[in-house]
């Protein structure tokens, strides 16, 4: 969900044709025409491991949506968050290809970037086997999507709504952006500016936890409201200290689109993984019913939920809790 669009460099261009050809060959072998009365099979490929809450909720939504439809669902985890070396990711992709060979699904659904980047793009691009992806952030064109055999739901964040709420509660117009120093977050900030016309008066990209704390403190005086985005790549993250700093030292409204950043943020609109899981399952059913993936336009998520941290609200003197907001402390 937070991976970049960079293609594995050692695969391009030397082995590109060879692998794409092999992928197409494999896809051709794996694509199984659906015959009447044949049990319908869907393989859901999760880029991460079981226990990763976000992806588990997507998989659960897929499973729930397919329950009672006569579809046999198999879920395969690539585990590329815990085993994130390039070799591990490629090995995981080959394992998925093997599963596809043996399970022979009629549709493959994927969640998050690595399944697209390491399975769909190198092995099944424009092949016969239909793919439905989700969890690719902001723009799937980085992987050349959509393909003739693939459609999906791009994951976007309700940034305008968050900023609108922050403005109503801020004492000034200056907006800050604090996130881990990764290409993905830089690109995300550019999307904010291009899509929503949001201009950040100060940006804080940090590589480690002390840097995050320093930036968080600096932002309290340098801007009037602050967007807090992903910190998953900060390896020395200290949740307890971050919570204490946020609860004790927040002076301006802060917002995020991640529910797990809510212990450090005043306000948030969290995306709902279930929306993506339901859409992916719905698209898979359409395809199983004979619709071509090319006739299902790529779309993006729209649903979210209000999140609110009353401890931080108390620190900066905000007493009104947005109605229907889920309280996270």
């Amino acid at each position: 969900m937070t991976s970049g669009f960079d293609v594995p460099q050692h695969l391009w261009p030397d082995r590109r044709r060879l692998l794409v050809g092999a992928g197409a060959l494999l896809a051709g072998a794996a694509a199984t025409p659906l015959r009447a009365n044949e049990p319908r099979r869907v393989l859901h490929v999760d880029s991460y491991h079981r226990g990763n809450e976000w992806n588990d909720r997507i998989a659960a939504a897929v499973e729930k949506a397919l329950t009672g439809t006569g579809v046999t669902l198999r879920i395969e985890h690539m585990d590329t968050k815990r085993r994130d070396s390039e070799a591990d990711k490629q090995a995981a992709a080959r394992r998925v290809v093997d599963v596809i060979d043996t399970f022979k699904p009629h549709v493959v659904t994927t969640s998050d970037d690595n399944a697209v980047k390491y399975v769909l793009m190198p092995y099944y691009r424009d092949a016969d086997l239909p793919f439905v992806f989700c969890g690719v952030n902001w723009d799937a064109s980085g992987y050349g999507l959509p393909y003739a055999n693939a459609t999906g739901m791009v994951e976007v964040s309700p940034i305008p709504q968050i900023v609108e709420w922050l403005k109503r509660n801020a004492s000034g117009p200056r907006l800050g952006f604090l996130a881990e120093d990764t290409p993905t977050k830089h690109k995300e900030m550019k999307y904010h500016e291009r899509l929503f016309g949001i201009g950040y008066d100060a940006t804080y990209f940090v590589s480690d936890f002390p840097g995050w704390v320093d930036a968080f403190r600096a932002a309290q005086t340098e801007v009037d409201m602050l967007m807090l985005l992903g910190v998953g790549r900060i390896t020395d993250w200290n949740a307890d200290v971050a919570r204490r700093v946020a609860e004790d030292e927040t002076r301006i409204p802060t917002g995020t689109d991640f529910a797990w950043l809510m212990p450090y943020s005043l306000f948030g609109i969290g995306k709902l993984p279930e929306e993506q899981g339901e859409w992916v399952a719905g698209a898979a059913l359409k395809i199983l019913d004979g619709v071509s993936p090319r006739d299902i336009p790529v779309t993006h998520n729209v649903r979210g939920e209000l999140l609110f941290n009353p401890r931080i609200a108390a620190t900066i003197g905000i007493k009104r809790r947005p109605p229907l907001a889920r309280v996270i402390e």
Binding site: S141, Q161, P297, T299, E305, P323, L324
Partner: protein, 980 residues
Amino acid sequence: MGRPEKPPTDSTDNRHGSPPSLARSTLWRVGTRIALVVLVATAFSYWHVRSGIEEQALAGLERYVSERRARESVPLLDAEESLAMLVRQYEKALQDPGTETSFNDLFVEQDDGTWRTTRELFDRDWVSGFVGKHADVDAETRRALIGAVDVVRRFGPSWPGRFANGYVLTPNQAVVMFWPGHDWALGGGDWEIFGKLALMREASGSGGVVVSGRRDAEPAKGTRWSGLYYDYGVRRWVVSVTRPVVVEGRHIASVGHDLMLQDLIERTVTSDIEGAYNLLFDADGNLIAHPRFMEAIQARGGALPVGETDDGHLKTLFSIAAEVGRPGGLVEVPGQDEYLAVSRLDGPGWYLLTVFPKELIAFEAVNMAYIVFGLGFAALLLELTILSGVLRRQIGEPLKALVRTADRTRAGDVAHEEILGELDTGRSDEIGTLARAFKDMLNELERRETALASGNAELSRLNLKLRHELGERKRAESELQRHRELNALLDSIDYGVLFLDADLKSRLANDAYRRMWQTAPDYYDQRRTLREDMEESRRRGLYMVSEADWPEYLDERIDRIRAGPFGPEELQLSNGRIMEYECTALHDGGRMLTYYDITDLKRAQANLRIHLEGMESSMDGMALLDHQGRYLYVNYAHARVYGYEREAMIGLSWRALYDDDELARFDREIVPVIHSRGRWRGEATGRRQGGQTFPQDLSLAATENGGLVCVVRDISERKARERALDQALQRAEESNAAKTRFLAAMSHELRTPLNAIIGFNRIVSRKTEGVIPERQSDNLAKIQTSAEHLLKLINEILDISKIEAGRMDVAFIPYAPSGVADECLRLIEPMVQPGVALRCDCVCDMPHATGDAAKVRQILMNLLANAARCTLSGEICIAVERDGERLRFAVIDTGIGIAPEAQATIFEEFARLDGAARTGAEGTGLGLPISRRLARLMGGDITVRSEPGEGSTFTLDLPFASRSGSLPVSEPAPSRAVGT
């Protein structure tokens, strides 16, 4: 005499407070009744007005809803009509053969596989187009798109202000858009364009997967409205309306508009009617606008399912709205105190609801009731004001004048005629009658009071006199009481006090003064001059002033006292008492002389000085410490011991004089002892100012005030001597032990060959008896004698060695003392000189003693052998007696005796008597030392009494029941020689 006058009081302020006012009570009764009428009228007005207001409000609400529905539906219906027209024009454009614009002039294939219109087209006509990269760009699509460009270009300029945009969508993911200022289809990514297309097509709130329609598929008929969604292009919340274009049964395209409903939403969440609020539902029950839930609605993507709010009230409202249906109506919400106005908007079919709380109607009615009540209350106040004026003028004022007249009459402060002038006696009504009767009564009262006043004046004068006398008497008694208390106080103190008046005559002398000056108890009953008083004391011989000096002394002293205050000064009397006296001037010119006997104090000071001098001269360090352990006083020796200047130690803590280890010992061992026993003595290690430590004898005693008395002595030299002595003693003991070991070893090694010599010599003598010459036989005899002497000497050395080495055991068995004595006499018999008698003086029935009989025998044999060697004539006697728990053997001879100076050394090893040598009875010099050590080993001793030429008596004193030696045997006590 008249009655005492009573101060006048105002009748309007009588003992019951304000008097009941006739006017006031009348006003109260009238006002109360009118107020009740006003309240009833107000209540009636409220109910009447409320019902009217409710009818009006509901009618107004219905009107409002109807107007609102019409107003909000205008842009929606406009959009639908616009699309209907656009469909017709588009169908015409598709069929118009005049369309010749080349598709390639409008669209260019992009690197990503998409087709997009040219920038020039947008810059010129605000038209942009997009074809997805997997779409089939066939001829029909091209015609559809060319027609779309044509129609939106022509009709687009009429849309701004009415719609955000207008567009044509084909079933295969192609779109042509007229959107002023937004090159949406040129710059947006696939997902942005497709995402919006999906939202455009999506029925409100279904959230499902959108499938691009195929041309041959059956299109949805009529106008379709999307749900509310956030458009990333305009960054606003919009809703899309589309209408399919079907040509010959084929779905060629759809035309549509986006409507920005921000105004509609804002009008919804801000109600026109104060107290009421609006909300917007779509047909699927999704909340689109609500004044409280807008944040949640927008977070949810613009449509919040009512089921997710967990708000039963909202669910009820929606179900009512669904039941009411189009076009709407006004209903009362069951179970809620409110009305619900429902109207369904044309176009998307959304429900616009207005919730109108009933309390708003009640509020209006209450406001009206307040107005009625206020008016009624104002009228009431006006009526009461008028009535009050009339009552006051016609009744209140005449009555008050009557009351004032009565009060002033009672006070009698003005003339009679003036008082009556205020009454209106000319009125013919009840008030006039009352005034005239009152006037007659006043005239009668005046006459009686004149008679009464004269009597009262005399009575008042006598009363004042009596009060004055009583006051004087009380003051005198009080003064007398104070005087007695002062005397008692003066008599109870130790100070002698003599009060003198300004003429220096005695006024008062307390008991202490009389005791000090030994005057009779009644001496001061008469007033004495100071001179008389001093003369009296002199007659008693108390002054140490000579006869010649007395007149001058007396005058000088009296003059000083008269001159003024002085002191304190000391005065010594002839009886040895020392007084401290002081003269104090009194405010009336008198004097107070105070005397205090400081004799004991002086004595204590003298003693203290003596003790202090003793401490100062002490060789030991002495000091006094306060309760915090700081030095209050140190003598020179104390300061010297610690190496300080004396002044430097004052205020210093004793803890500075010891190192940490010693302080720990103090805290652990010494301080608890001082706390429990009050004192401690022992040795400690002090630290001098330079840091050098030294041993000290230390004595600490706690004082009553929590301080300490400290006596310290530097014992460095003594310790050094003790160490030297210990070392010397240790060396001596080591030498002695070495000597003992040597002797024991030597004696053993010598005795073995010596026994062999004696044995072989005895054999040779016996074998050669009568064979060898006599001279050789004598030599053998000398060898025998010398060897036996040497053997004896060695045995005795061995005994001493055993004793000193602590290896001599003492038996503890019963024996007969007299039997041992007899046995020894028999054994010694061969050794005595001829003519010397042997005698035993024993008690025959003496019981058995307990001890070591062999050692007793050895001692007695040694003593008897000495006696035999030293006694050439006379007798040798052994006497045995028991004295309590002691047993004594005495060996008495009539030999040569021992010189006094020799008696001190005869118990030392190898000491010999000169006389013994002369008798040829020389011993080994070890017999007596061994005997004494054995005696002491058994708990006894040997003493000697001797007189040269008269003989000697050796007394062996033993416990009757001895166990073991208790006296030290290594260091014999000096022998005690007793002269005979």
